[in-house]
């Protein structure tokens, strides 16, 4: 029955029923009117009013609405390392270099705050320097920490200050341990500060030499081409010393100032307008932003119609960004359906209602104009094999057999809705050196696995004495899903006739075991690219990176692999480097220090009014390229959020019925 007809029927029934009780009827009518007015005035829009109604040119103020799974932990550029914080920091605090948003195979660095890519100079001592020049006229955001609240120009000493902050032990910069091995004077300055419990910012810092107002040189102890990737991270972003000193978290003239980690003062296309902790962050456009414009090229032919009109345009393309913190996934889905979120990731909860078995978007969402995207992250997940274990370490055939027994595709089908892709090699797609055609020689093949096991000295899973081979598998435990995954892995290996003992660990305990080598096989290992360079993956198996110094949890040691790694690590990308990568990949595939599982992929949805512009996983959202069709959103939201009146009538009828029952009962008494 249509809502209007049902409401009319209810009204007629109520009128007939209440005719003998005019007083009750009047009260009911009043309550119904009050409820209707209250609900009509009560919008279901969870977002606050935009910061402005219109822009300076009179056009509607464009707001993008997004979701965060938790509040950012820190927006200090030298500290922030988690993906959530970086998502907010990226549009606020720009880096010296940035990733071209449309080039992902391979990735490409372009200047951002720098005028051009740094110039590499090899010194006679064997060290390397990078000469850098900042763009002139770039301003920090307007902020009370500057005289008269006007942002000042970014100069080379701001970059030097950033490098000093990386070194300061109190700042706790996660990049320190990587950079101090290469940047001159960094390790010494850190140790001195640890001893005296304070970092002397007045001392000259030999690793970064300021050579002019906008020019500086970074001095390295040895060749380290990956430094350029570090310049595309926030750790090396210039920081205004005034801002750090101003936002000290103390009371000044009766007002408590924020800590710098919650009040970044950057140069980016957006600045923080409002941050309600654990609730939402609102960013508004930086009116004086001139650093970068929309790229002129780089996108595929399928995006030409959408992106060509934007080429060369001033950034950002929207006026405000509203990021709401959602700890649960159900409300995200509900608000997306109502049109109050412009995009969302497709999690397990809503997967079956959004995505068809053929991995397409379900019909009702297609009708709404929603678009489904699939992205593969530059990451690889695998099981670590302890190469120092007396059973697994010396027996290459046994490791190969275990690898061939593991059905990675079935694992992804059962536990990940077939969204990620099976890893055939350590390097994920997009990283220089990734071989598209390469197939893991010890990928899933049960017959081959059994044959390899026999060659390993365990025919049908038994050794020469007839004893069943027993292997322990360390996993993270606790949730039902983790337990099921552990059981699945156990079954995979037990198809060979061996016995697998699952050891459940809390996450931190598993990390401890990986560090101290107290395991045979361990799940949950993986690596996401800090930067898109093969060195950032192959270093996981370099023998000088045994824990605690590094992350070689498999304790893999192969002199040939080490030699090749040392050679390729200091090389620029070229054909020779790719050839070395091929050899390293082949060595790892044959030696099996890990059992490869997957490259993580995700599904995401976008509303028809907010088409996705770029999908570069090295960017944390790329908010400065985001677009919005304001009028379309307003229209669709109005259509999707109509309020029916009939349920109020039903509830009221119920209340009236109870009231009349009591009234009659009392009259009887």
């Amino acid at each position: 029955m249509p809502p209007r007809t049902s409401s009319r029927c209810l009204a007629l029934i109520a009128a007939a029923f209440l005719r003998p009780y005019p007083c009750v009827a009047r009260v009911c009518a009043g309550v119904l009117l009050a409820c209707s007015l209250m609900l009509a005035g009560c919008s279901n829009n969870p977002h606050p009013e935009p910061l402005q109604k219109t822009g300076e040119d009179g056009t509607p103020w464009k707001v993008r609405y997004g979701a965060l799974p938790e509040d950012p932990r820190s927006l200090d550029p030298q500290v922030s390392y988690d993906a959530i914080s970086r998502r907010i920091l990226e549009p606020v605090q720009e880096c010296l270099l940035e990733y071209q948003p449309f080039k992902t195979d391979p990735y490409e660095l372009t200047p951002c705050l720098l005028l051009k890519l740094p110039e590499r100079v090899v010194k006679p001592s064997g060290g390397v320097s990078y000469r850098c020049e900042l763009k002139a006229g770039i301003l920090f955001h307007d902020d009370p920490c500057f005289p008269e609240g006007r942002g000042r120009e970014v100069v080379a000493t701001d970059v030097q200050y950033a490098f000093q902050r990386i070194t300061d032990p109190k700042v706790e910069c996660p990049a320190l341990s990587n950079l101090q091995d290469y940047v001159e004077g960094m390790a010494e300055a850190f140790e001195a500060a640890r001893k005296t419990e304070s970092f002397d910012y007045s001392k000259p810092f030999s690793g970064l030499e300021v050579t002019g107002r906008y020019t500086f040189e970074i001095h390295l102890k040895a060749a380290y081409p990956q430094l350029l990737y570090w310049l595309a991270m926030h750790f090396t972003s210039p920081v205004a010393r005034e801002a750090v000193e101003f936002y000290d978290g103390k009371v000044h003239e009766g007002t408590t100032r924020d800590l710098f980690r919650f009040h970044p003062v950057g140069t980016g296309p957006f600045q923080i307008a409002d941050w309600k902790r654990n609730t939402r962050i609102r960013l508004k456009r930086n009116p004086v932003y001139r650093t970068t414009t929309f790229p002129q090229d780089g996108w595929g032919a399928e995006q030409e119609a959408l992106l060509r009109p934007l080429a060369g345009k001033a950034l950002p393309l929207v006026d405000e960004v509203n990021m709401t913190v959602f700890r649960e996934t159900i409300p995200v889905f509900l608000l997306f359906r109502q049109g109050y979120l412009d995009g969302m990731g497709v999690g397990k909860d809503a997967f079956s209602s959004l995505v068809t078995p053929s991995r397409d978007l379900s019909g009702k969402y297609k009708e709404r104009g929603v678009t489904l995207h699939r992205d593969t992250e530059p990451s690889t997940f695998f099981m670590s094999v302890n190469m120092e274990d007396p059973v697994l370490g010396p027996n290459q055939k046994l490791r190969q057999a275990l690898s061939a027994a593991f059905n990675a595709q079935a694992n992804l089908d059962i536990f990940f809705n077939s969204v990620p892709i099976v890893a055939e090699q350590l390097l994920p797609p997009g990283i220089a050196g990734y071989q598209k055609e390469f197939k893991n020689p010890y990928g899933y093949n049960l017959e081959k696995a059994k044959a390899l096991l026999a060659e390993a000295g365990y025919p049908n899973g038994r050794d020469a004495t007839g004893k069943v081979l027993e292997i322990s598998l360390d996993t993270t435990g606790g949730s039902a899903n983790e337990r099921m995954m552990a059981e699945f892995n156990q079954q995979q290996f037990e198809q060979l006739g061996i016995k697998v003992k699952v050891v459940e660990n809390p996450f931190a305990r598993l990390l401890e075991k990986l560090d101290n080598g107290g395991y045979q096989l361990a799940t949950g290992s993986g690596w996401g690219a800090d930067y898109p360079d093969p060195e950032n993956f192959y270093f996981l198996y370099y023998s000088k990176n045994f824990p605690p110094a590094g992350k070689n949890h498999s304790r893999y040691k192969n002199p040939e692999f080490d030699r090749l790694f040392e050679k390729m690590a200091t090389m620029e990308n070229c054909a020779e480097r790719d050839a070395i990568g091929l050899k390293m990949n082949a060595i790892l595939a044959e030696d099996v220090p890990n059992i490869l599982n997957m490259h993580r992929s995700t599904f995401g949805l976008t509303q028809p009014w907010a088409p996705r512009i770029q999908s570069n996983p090295m960017l944390e959202g790329g908010l400065k390229y985001a677009v919005l069709d304001h009028a379309l959103r307003e229209n669709l939201r109005a259509q999707w959020n109509k309020k029916p009146v009939w349920p109020i009538g039903v509830v009221l009828c119920g209340l009236v019925a109870v009231g009349l029952f009591t009234f009659n009962l009392r009259r009887k008494h």
Binding site: C42, E172, S177, N278, F507, A508
Partner: protein, 324 residues
């Protein structure tokens, strides 16, 4: 009375100490400070950054007692943190570095905005419904209501939340499915649905309890006397049963007060209300020991205070009870 009060306050000390020790042991003996640092800093953290993190927060000290020769025994993590807490120096969050005083002050208002109206409405509705059921007892509606109460009690809170968010907020579009705004006139639109769900989810148990309390009063001799004198049933209910039943209600109400400020873990999470329940859940997930420890300390003090207040109120309301 004063001696009783002092004695009870004196008992607070070992109880709070025991609670703090238990929290500390559960947190750090089950999971070492290094493991906590690793979880906070992530899988990619280097040993140096872990060491630096521990040093900056004082977690590199011995856990319970310092047995290092030449160093005072009390220079340990537990004693140092307990010493700080008893002077109400709550310190800062391990994860964000924000002062805990600020975190708790900001979280208290949203929690109270959710729990106080829900508590008051729930109390009023439960008492009214219980009196109504006593009034019509043994009627068909009474049996139906009793059945409904048991049904309401049997439904998990999560089901109410999903029903509220999906049907009321998503299908009917009456209220926002998520969000919170404490300022201005927008607060009620965010609070109406979670408050209603909180009331409904607790209604079954409360009505059953209050109905039982009032029925017990109905069986008393003085009620029979009043009815024999010709006092109407409604008047007996409101003037005698309700007033005497209040004594039992006081104990329930006062004991519930400390929980109001701690908020609702589930509703705050699902509706995005940045209250203390939300703070605690986030701290446990992070893990942020400083927040957990301070929450437990303040929570135990409030709970003990609530229990003491309950006893005092009971003595005040019922002249037969003497404290001493």
């Amino acid at each position: 009375m004063l001696a009783y009060l002092i004695r009870r306050l004196f008992f607070f000390v070992p109880i709070v100490f025991g609670v703090m020790l238990l929290t500390f042991v559960l947190f750090f003996v089950v999971q070492s400070p290094e493991a906590t640092a690793r979880r906070v800093l992530g899988q990619k953290a280097t040993p140096k950054s872990v060491e630096n993190w521990l040093h900056n927060r004082g977690y590199d000290k011995p856990l319970l007692i310092n047995t290092t020769p030449g160093q005072p025994w009390h220079d340990s993590l537990f004693v140092t943190q307990l010493g700080r807490l008893v002077t109400f120096d709550l310190g800062t969050s391990d994860v964000s570095g924000r002062p805990l005083r600020e975190i708790f002050a900001q979280g208290a208002l949203p929690s109270l905005l959710l729990t106080v109206p829900a508590f008051l409405v729930s109390l009023a509705v439960s008492v009214a419904l219980a009196l109504y059921l006593v009034f019509i007892r043994n009627a068909a509606v009474d049996f139906m209501a009793t059945f409904l109460c048991v049904a309401l009690m049997s439904v998990p809170v999560m089901v109410y939340v999903i029903f509220g968010q999906f049907v009321v907020a998503q299908v009917l579009n009456y209220f926002p499915a998520f969000g919170f705004e404490a300022s201005g006139w927008s607060a009620p639109k965010f609070l109406l649905l979670p408050v209603a769900l909180m009331v409904v989810s607790g209604l079954g148990a409360d009505v059953r309890l209050f109905r039982a309390l009032f029925l017990e009063e109905m069986g008393q001799d003085y009620i029979r006397t009043a009815r024999a004198k010709g006092v109407s049933k409604a008047r007996v209910l409101l003037s005698h049963v309700f007033k005497n039943g209040l004594i039992n209600l006081i104990t329930l109400v006062v004991a519930s007060l400390p929980f109001l400020i701690m908020g609702s873990l589930l509703l705050e999470n699902f509706f995005g209300i940045p209250g203390l329940g939300n703070v605690l859940v986030t701290a446990i997930q992070a893990p942020d020991f400083a927040v957990v420890q301070a929450s437990v300390f303040l929570g135990s003090l409030m709970y003990l205070g609530g229990l003491l207040l309950t006893d005092l109120c009971y003595a005040w309301a019922d002249p037969r009870i003497r404290l001493g």
